[in-house]
């Protein structure tokens, strides 16, 4: 690929994906390979890792060094936190969320998965489906990542054997069926040698499917393919009354990002919580009008009628109302070192709305190694549980399975202001 070809002629959007696996599965090598083969790595960085590789007594450049981050990590040779990496193929931009495989894996993986539209699960071809594979698959399923790629890596160490590949694929499918995971692609791969990552290589002729990059280029950049209801949480209200321009004195713009669905000028909408109905008068970005707007667009809505609306309210299509509720059931992932205390009040942040909340009950804790349900009184860091909360203020919610934007919430501990939990409404 010459550099001039890297300037995108056709913009095929932006795909966010997650890589799950530990260093032993070759995850860092895979990311290094993607960055290297897409020519994202520049000479000075390459020289730096060449020096480090030599210092550590290696012959070839260790591509996994490209994802080395913080000083403490370099000293200890481990990955502490989610890191974000970027590359472009010339037609599409990619954001990789690189989640560490070992310590605090649940917390980090859920964090990285929350913004991903595709997940790559790495399996060491010598080891096959492990407990860790099940854990990663469960978590990507929990966070509802629509596309799953299982990369059976280190094929070079099993002689590029199709048998080994087929056996692991069958094992995985048997387990995936139990979790109701659909849309899985399997790729045999050697990230070390670059086979089936960007180039096909010459040693996997029996595999006729797409390379990893082919799959990434073709994947939908939307986290769902079904039409969702229009949801517009109001972030900010623009009222430039004091402007020198008298035409703006009655201007009331409701600013926010379309969480889901589509809206067009003239559409009938309902404002929550008031329930007032009106129509969309205009849709603007920087005072330019659009005929319609769709999911992920940050816009300003102007309405036909003067209605009192503030941050935390939600504008939806009339006839497609979300639940309006003070009681939620959810899958909760606990993220904090201080355990969830059933006696304490927490703050729940859902869309642009906050509410005080109290735990109403823990139905079960999920053992993510065995997929068994266990009784639990408290939740510690990295625990995942089915819980219910009582809220002081109602929220406008959909189930997470139906709508990521209006089904997700975070839990904040007001004594520390820390984000301590992540929830998905059932």
């Amino acid at each position: 690929m010459s550099a001039m070809e890297k300037i995108p002629a056709i913009d095929n959007g932006l795909l966010r994906f997650l890589t799950c696996g530990s260093v032993d599965d070759g995850k860092s090598t895979l990311i290094g390979r993607l960055l290297f083969d897409s020519k994202t790595i520049l000479a000075d960085t390459l020289h730096a890792i060449e020096r480090t590789s030599k210092k550590r007594g290696m012959d070839a450049i260790d591509l996994s060094l490209l994802t080395d981050g913080l000083q403490a990590e370099r000293e200890q040779g481990i990955t502490i936190d989610v890191a974000y990496r970027y590359f472009t193929t010339g037609t599409r931009k990619y954001i990789i969320a690189d989640a560490p495989g070992h310590e605090q894996y649940t917390r980090n993986m859920v964090t990285a998965a929350s913004t991903a539209d595709l997940a790559i699960i790495l399996i060491d071809a010598r080891k096959g489906v492990l407990t860790q594979t099940r854990r990663h698959s469960y978590l990507t399923h929990l966070v509802n990542i629509p596309h799953l790629v299982v990369a059976i890596n280190k094929m070079d160490l099993v002689d590029y054997s199709q048998e080994a590949f087929d056996r692991i694929m069958a094992d995985y499918l048997a387990f995936a069926a139990k979790l109701n995971i659909k849309d899985v692609h399997f790729i045999p791969m050697s990230a070390l040698n670059g086979d089936m990552v960007v180039e096909r290589g010459e040693r996997l002729d029996w595999y006729q499917g797409p390379t990893l990059i082919d799959l990434l280029e073709a994947a939908s950049t939307s986290h769902t393919d079904h039409q969702e209801s229009f949801r517009f949480p109001v972030q900010y209200v623009c009222r430039p009354q004091d402007s020198a321009n008298p035409e703006l004195h009655d201007y009331r713009g409701f600013m926010g990002r379309v969480e889901s669905g589509v809206v067009a000028i003239g559409d009938a909408v309902t404002v929550l919580p008031s329930g007032r109905e009106t129509r969309v008068k205009d849709i603007q970005i920087n005072s330019t009008s659009l005929t319609h707007a769709f999911a992920e667009q940050s816009i300003t809505l102007l309405l036909d009628d003067e209605i009192d609306i503030s941050r935390g309210d939600m504008i939806v299509r009339t006839g497609e109302l979300p639940q309006f509720t003070k009681q939620i059931n959810a899958m909760l992932c606990w993220l904090s070192e201080s355990p969830l205390d059933p006696r304490r009040k927490y703050l729940i942040r859902h869309t642009t709305r906050d509410s005080k909340a109290m735990l109403a009950g823990i139905e079960f804790r999920m053992d993510i190694n065995t997929m068994e349900h266990q009784a639990a009184e408290k939740l510690a860091m990295n625990d995942i549980a089915k819980v219910s909360f009582k809220l002081a203020q109602p929220i406008f919610a959909d189930s997470y399975a139906e709508n990521r934007g209006t089904g997700a919430f975070i839990v904040i501990d007001e004594s520390s202001n820390n984000t301590v939990g992540a929830g998905m409404i059932l």
Binding site: D11, G13, D44, Y84, T88, E296, G405, T419
Partner: protein
């Protein structure tokens, strides 16, 4: 019910929309934010994003520049002009004022003032009681930044604790802080240098002239080029050359070096950026090369 097929955004539209959303979250969640504007290309993009986020209203925050007193005049002039065009309030606080107060003490007169911006920034945060600072840093710039949150918490001393960051999920940002603490917000975290140049081209944004190829006196030291200025004069024995250069980043004169280039338009700069073999900071930021971890160290100490 509309029957449109599912539409998705181009990569620049997606990045822009995300950045607008982040700025509006700051406006919605924080009581007294500020946007750091240096006149550099990233912060110029930030102003366009702020326009798209808040016009026809005024920005819900002032602009602020921490000036080392060693900035290129082309850039500070541009900074003042741009703020005036937008009709937004610009606060300038200077490292030289901190030096006069005695809160910044240089080891030597010619020591770079770049890292001392942290002190002046913290003083300004205290002076105005800012609870959030919006900045144009990007995760692709440097290893330490790749792990930083979009909403990054700083304690009373302005310190970043990379091992104890708040989890950041979905687009649910947590900007809560107690008095004296501070949130740094990076709306263009997910942009690369290339995205920035593409955005500048698409939005037709004006830039300070030193981003484009021009003749400049330089000396060569340790394989790099150093501009010859009043602040960084040639040393005895240096050979001064006139070279056609441009700047990829602009900052304190003592630590920002130009690259040789004939690119005098945005399109040519984009073509060069696509073919370059050196990272943005690798070639041009003398202060990041001290050690593998120097940016991380500075951030822990309160640097942006």
């Amino acid at each position: 019910m509309t029957t449109l097929t599912k539409q998705t955004l181009s990569h620049l539209d997606w990045l822009e929309s995300e950045a607008i959303h982040i700025m509006r979250e700051v406006a919605g969640q924080c009581s007294n934010p500020v946007l750091l504007f240096s006149g550099g290309k990233d912060s110029i993009c930030m102003l366009r994003i702020a326009e798209k986020a808040f016009r026809p209203g005024k920005f819900p925050f002032p602009l602020m520049h921490i000036d080392t007193g060693h900035n290129y005049k082309e850039v500070t002039d541009f900074r003042d002009k741009r703020a005036a065009e937008l009709g937004e309030r610009l606060i300038v606080r200077s490292v030289e004022d901190s030096m006069a107060r005695g809160t910044v003490v240089l080891k030597t007169d010619d020591e770079s003032r770049n890292k001392h911006q942290s002190v002046t920034l913290l003083e300004a945060i205290e002076e105005f009681s800012f609870d959030a600072c919006i900045g144009g840093a990007r995760r692709d710039e440097e290893k330490a930044r790749a792990k930083e949150r979009i909403f990054s918490f700083r304690d009373e001393f302005g310190q970043w604790d990379p091992k104890n960051q708040r989890p950041e999920l979905w687009d649910l940002y947590n900007a809560r802080s107690f008095k004296g603490e501070n949130i740094r917000v990076f709306p263009i975290s997910n942009w690369t240098e290339f995205d920035v140049w593409q955005y500048i081209e698409r939005e037709n944004l004006e830039l300070p002239s030193i981003y484009f190829a021009h003749l400049r006196p330089i000396v060569r030291r340790q394989g790099g080029m150093l501009p010859v200025t009043e602040v960084t004069p040639a040393r005895p024995g240096d050979t001064i050359e006139q070279v056609q250069v441009r700047f990829r980043t602009v900052g304190d004169i003592t630590c920002t070096a130009p690259v040789e280039s004939a690119a005098d338009t945005i399109a040519k700069i984009i073509a060069e950026t696509a073919t370059t073999t050196i990272t943005e900071r690798g070639a041009t930021r003398l202060d990041d090369q001290t050690s593998d971890a120097s940016m991380e160290q500075r951030k822990k100490e309160g640097y942006f």
